[in-house]
């Protein structure tokens, strides 16, 4: 694999087989040749249904799980190496910070584990606590924290050593809407500061809101990668929405060649038409027919697909 410094993560044909049962005779293919290139300085989202292999891929990148085949690098270093981990901040899904710690001691503990000195930790701690909204609760035991507070503390610990790459596994899980917005803002600020973020979330809306690029994983295979715009473009929607005024018969006549066309009456002579038109020629023909019958076209718009619809299309197709 050629290492490219433009990418913070590069995987090539990464596979993972989990073995279980007596003498490991039962096999489960969690990843089946995943290849990814995650660009530097961007927020990259990893999408996929439960069991798709997202967490396994993240753990391989961090060296928590050993890959069965393929190659992976992080920040130009072998994925999972201690040197690479030194440059990564990680927030695992359902993480558990020891209950006897406070926010202050937790940041001290994880900062020290990341190799920071006490003076560096003391310098970084206040701004991080501010950033995640835990200022004022820093001396409380985490045993008394809510899920959202724990999640924000987890985010803070992942950033304490100013890593080049932050890997987040379901960071907004259990966080209220206000908290989510705060986390989104933190991520966007990180990206603006040149940090790279690798985000795994099942909340497609979150991904759509913050991610520059995404990869969709299903059944251990990478089905699609690209920017959000590219993905949406790749799966163009053929539905066209028109607002017209004129004779109802003329409107119905013009729409009749298109199967599934929906005509809704707004007023006596105003109508909304929703029709699937696969090509531009056919759209031109529809407009020509309407105008020929003296129907006025007030508005014409092509509807955009949401990421969820794109995801469902791809995953659904993959399931079939």
């Amino acid at each position: 694999m050629n290492l490219n410094t433009d990418f913070v993560i590069q995987t090539s044909d990464v596979s993972k087989i989990y073995r279980s049962g007596l003498f490991g005779r039962k096999k489960f293919h969690a990843l089946k040749g995943v290849s990814l290139n995650v660009p530097r300085g961007k927020i990259y989202g990893l999408l996929g249904p439960n069991g798709a292999g997202k967490t396994t891929l993240i753990k391989i990148l961090l060296g928590i799980v050993r890959k069965t085949g393929g190659s992976a690098s992080v920040l130009g270093m072998v994925a999972g190496s201690r040197a690479a981990r030194r440059q990564i901040g990680f927030l695992p899904e359902n993480h558990r910070i020891p209950r006897h710690l406070t926010a202050n001691t937790a940041l001290e503990y994880y900062g020290s584990l990341s190799g920071l000195s006490m003076s560096e930790i003391r310098k970084r701690r206040p701004e991080l606590l501010d950033a995640v909204g835990l200022r004022g609760r820093e001396n409380d035991r985490v045993a008394g924290y809510s899920k959202g507070m724990l999640q924000r503390l987890g985010l803070a610990q992942s950033m304490i050593h100013k890593p080049q790459l932050i890997v987040l596994d379901e960071p907004t899980d259990g966080v209220d809407p206000v908290g989510r917005r705060e986390i989104r803002e933190v991520l966007q600020r990180l990206a603006s500061e040149g940090h790279s973020v690798f985000l795994n979330s099942h909340l497609l809306q979150e991904i759509e809101l913050v991610c520059d690029s995404v990869a969709i994983l299903n059944h251990g295979q990478c089905l699609l990668t690209g920017t959000v715009k590219e993905l949406k473009a790749a799966l163009k929607d053929s539905t066209v929405f028109l607002q017209v005024r004129g004779q109802e018969a003329a409107v119905r006549k013009a729409a009749s060649p298109f199967v599934g066309a929906v005509i809704r009456t707004a007023t006596a002579d105003a109508f909304e038409v929703e029709v699937a038109i696969p090509s531009q020629q056919e759209l031109d023909r529809l407009i020509d027919t309407l105008r020929a019958d003296n129907v006025s076209i007030w508005q014409i718009a092509r509807r955009e697909k949401t990421l969820e619809e794109v995801f469902m299309n791809i995953v659904g197709a993959n399931r079939q």
């Binding site: 753990k59 799980v65 359902n94």
Partner: protein
């Protein structure tokens, strides 16, 4: 490094945040507070202590014989006893020494001591007329004031009693200790000497530390730390930890070390508290006590390494606690099986003495049974032996009589064997020995002959067949009985088990004059076959006892060697070999006492036996740990060569051809020519099934498993500084020589530490391997 220090610091934080820790510390504090008011008060001695009645038989005899003369101290004292006590004293005085069961012997001495103590605080104990002929100090001769306290009265009477019966009573210290609690004396005078306080406190300390640290503390620590590793490996925590730039194995090892923090805190608090209490309350500042902290952390680490390994695999605290407790039980079971088999089976079958003469080889095993080497069968054949100590089970006899070597003396013509069998006295302790003899025409069946006039140092046969018995008050020749007497003896012995044997003055001829200096009972005495002379050594004072032309013995050369170490010696030809308790071995000229050579036994080893070839051509020392050191009399130097069995030698001797015989643990004997340092012959004794089971099943299993129980020996070593300890019993209270020759419980502290360390390393290594290869 910073990362691992952070994990350790977190362990401390976790421990500090734990309720269990505070409960444990609270418990320790309560214990220390409960012990704090304990104290010892020294006061004048008011009771006769058990061990101070040195000769109960003769004391009772004296009272009984003087009972009719109430104007004598004996009769006066007798009259103060109540009817029941008089009846029992009379029974003691009339009975034979060797009779009775163990319980009766001890009970007899206790009964006498209690009876006498009951009289001491009575105002009519002292009668100036009765004590007129007794040499009393002036203050004791003065009648007691009416206002005198009971304690003072008892003390004065005790001192008077000692003056009257100085031959039977030895009050070694005129003060007594009482245990007080918050200033209240609730025990009265304790039944031990004030000088014994340190060893008694040590044994209490060892017990206390075992209970609260070795058992309770470790169990509590295991329960507390059982969750530590499984919790670390919970998905949410381990993912976070492994995403940091830390090494998996080091993470596991640091967590393991962190787990020891709990034990460290508890052990440090308890030991420091005890140290302060000992220092402040008893003025015993024992800094070495702090060594107990690492020892108990080490002990905890053995079990915690198993707990950590199991916790990493199952990630379940309950499973790991249950398995660790099962493991602990298993270890205890194997330890008990090992030590029981070793003490009661293997050591009893192991040959502990060997002697050869006239072409015959005899050996004595641990249960003090005699065996003869049968060259036709190629094995040891048991020699029938009348048992005069039937009341002691054979498996306990080795421990009970461990202070008295049981050696067979073989006549030069091989026609007769002799041995001295110690007998139990009715009032406790060892009485005069019984001579056992066996003859060739009776297949060497050992029969009791006669009881010696006093406790003897050994039994020796000259080249002329004379039997010499050195005793504390002189040297005796055993003339023996006529054949008719002997047969009658044998017949009675058959009926009564030899209990009716008694000493006959006719059978023993004293070969020393009245002015012969007494040989201290603690002396080591050796016989020189070349000139039938003897050599006695006590506290560095070496004396030759020469045989005169008329067959008598006179005191010969004397030399003060200027040391007080306990020592044992052997003499052959003109060679004298002395082995000291501190490990120093000296070869000397037997005539001039000039030192020829000097060597040292391996560190911490104590000599068990010294043997010289009868011509002085070579000599050897064997230690309690089986090491053999050989001296070459021709080259006049100690050899760096050692027999193959060195390290596991159970006995040594020289045969009539001056060849060194070394017995191994498996009843085998290899015979060496010391001059060429080569084996020339071998006697391969067979080993029975229980011993084989021990050597090939129990012992290997025990070897590979950790030995947490043996760490108690480490505490013993820390407190006493000795690597072996003499088995204390009433039968081996024969002074310094006995302390060396007595069987010892040896403990190899370093071997224990190494074997336990290896086990911990294996467990942690497996844990690291598992974690390094696992996905989380």
């Amino acid at each position: 490094m910073r990362a691992y220090l952070a994990i350790l610091k977190d362990s401390y934080r976790e421990a500090a945040a734990s309720m269990v820790l505070w409960l444990a510390l609270g418990g320790i504090l309560l214990l220390l507070l409960a012990l704090a008011p304990l104290g010892l008060v020294t006061s004048s001695n008011t009771t006769l202590r058990f061990q101070e009645l040195v000769d109960p038989e003769k004391f009772v005899q004296a009272l009984y014989e003087g009972r009719s003369d109430t104007q004598s101290p004996e009769g006066h004292l007798w009259s103060k006893l109540n009817a029941k006590q008089q009846e029992k004293f009379a029974a003691f005085a009339k009975s034979d020494d060797t009779g009775g069961r163990g319980g009766q012997r001890d009970g007899g001495r206790f009964f006498i001591v209690n009876a006498i103590n009951g009289l001491l605080d009575k105002p009519d104990f002292y009668d100036p007329v009765v004590f007129e002929r007794v040499e009393l100090d002036d203050d004791l001769r003065t009648p007691d004031a009416e206002s005198i306290s009971k304690a003072d009265l008892a003390n004065r009477n005790l001192r008077r009693l000692e003056k009257v019966f100085s031959r039977y009573i030895s009050v070694s210290e005129n003060s007594a200790l009482s245990l007080t609690y918050a200033g209240f004396d609730f025990t009265g005078p304790l039944p031990f000497l004030p000088s014994q306080i340190q060893s008694i406190v040590d044994s209490w300390l060892a017990w206390l530390l075992w209970l609260f640290l070795g058992f309770g503390g470790i169990l509590a620590a295991l329960l507390f730390t059982a969750t530590l590793i499984p919790r670390t490996f919970e998905p949410g925590e381990i993912s976070l930890l492994l995403s940091k730039p830390v090494h998996r194995s080091f993470l596991f090892l640091t967590k393991f070390l962190g787990g020891c923090v709990f034990t460290l805190i508890c052990a440090a608090m308890l030991v420091t508290g005890l140290w302060l209490l000992l220092g402040l309350r008893l003025d015993m500042w024992r800094i070495e006590l702090f060594w107990c902290i690492p020892v108990y952390i080490f002990l905890f680490a053995i079990f915690f390494s198993v707990s950590a390994f199991l916790g990493a695999i199952w990630r379940n605290a309950i499973v790991s606690v249950i398995l660790v407790i099962i493991f602990w039980g298993g270890l205890t079971l194997i330890g008990v099986a090992y030590s029981s088999m070793n003490e009661f089976v293997v050591k009893n079958r192991r040959l502990s003495e060997i002697s050869a003469n006239g072409g015959l080889v005899f050996a004595v095993d641990g249960s003090r049974s005699v065996h003869r080497w049968d060259s036709v069968e190629g094995d040891w054949m048991p020699v029938q032996q009348a048992d005069i100590n039937v009341q002691i089970p054979s498996f306990v006899r080795r421990l009970f009589f461990s202070g008295h070597r049981f050696r067979v003396s073989v006549s030069q013509d091989g026609q007769r064997i002799l041995a001295l069998q110690p007998t139990l006295s009715r009032m406790g302790g060892i009485g005069p020995a019984m001579i056992l003899s066996g003859r060739e025409n009776e297949k060497y069946e050992l029969q009791p002959e006669l009881k010696t006039p006093e406790s003897m140092f050994g039994i020796f046969q000259t080249s002329d067949g004379e039997v010499i018995l050195p005793g504390p008050s002189g040297i005796y020749r055993f003339i023996g009985q006529t054949e008719q007497e002997r047969k009658a003896q044998t017949y009675l012995g058959g009926i009564f088990g030899g209990l009716l044997s008694s000493s006959s003055n006719k059978a023993f001829e004293k070969l020393t004059e009245k002015d012969f200096p007494a040989i201290a009972a603690e002396s080591s005495v050796a016989f020189n076959l070349t000139d039938a002379g003897l050599m006695a050594l006590n506290e560095g004072e070496l004396r030759r006892i020469d045989r005169t032309a008329d067959g008598k013995y006179t005191a010969g050369n004397f030399k003060d060697l200027q040391w007080k170490e306990p020592a044992i010696l052997s003499v052959g030809g003109n060679l004298l070999l002395i082995a000291r308790g501190d490990g120093k071995v000296l070869a000397m000229d037997a005539s001039t006492f000039d030192q020829i050579a000097e060597s040292t036994l391996p560190a911490g080893e104590t000599p068990r036996a010294v043997e010289c070839a009868s011509d002085g051509s070579s000599a050897a020392v064997v230690t309690h740990r089986g090491t053999v050191l050989v001296y070459d009399g021709t080259g006049r130097k100690f050899l760096s060569w050692a027999p193959r069995e060195s390290g596991s030698a159970s006995a040594i001797a020289f045969d009539e051809n001056h060849r060194l015989m070394v017995v191994d643990y498996h009843r085998g004997v290899r015979i060496y020519d010391v001059a060429t340092q080569t084996p020339v012959d071998q006697l391969r004794g067979s080993v029975d099934l229980p011993s084989n089971l021990f050597y090939y099943v129990v012992s290997p299993v025990y070897t590979i498993l950790p030995k947490p129980g043996d760490l108690d020996s480490a505490i013993q070593w820390i407190l006493t500084g000795e690597k072996s300890q003499v088995i204390e019993n009433e039968a081996n209270q024969n002074g310094l020589r006995g302390k060396l020759e007595s069987e010892r419980v040896t403990f190899d502290v370093w071997n224990t530490i190494v074997s336990n360390l290896v086990f911990i390393a294996v467990m942690l290594g497996l844990g690291c391997l598992y974690i390094a290869r696992s996905d989380f």
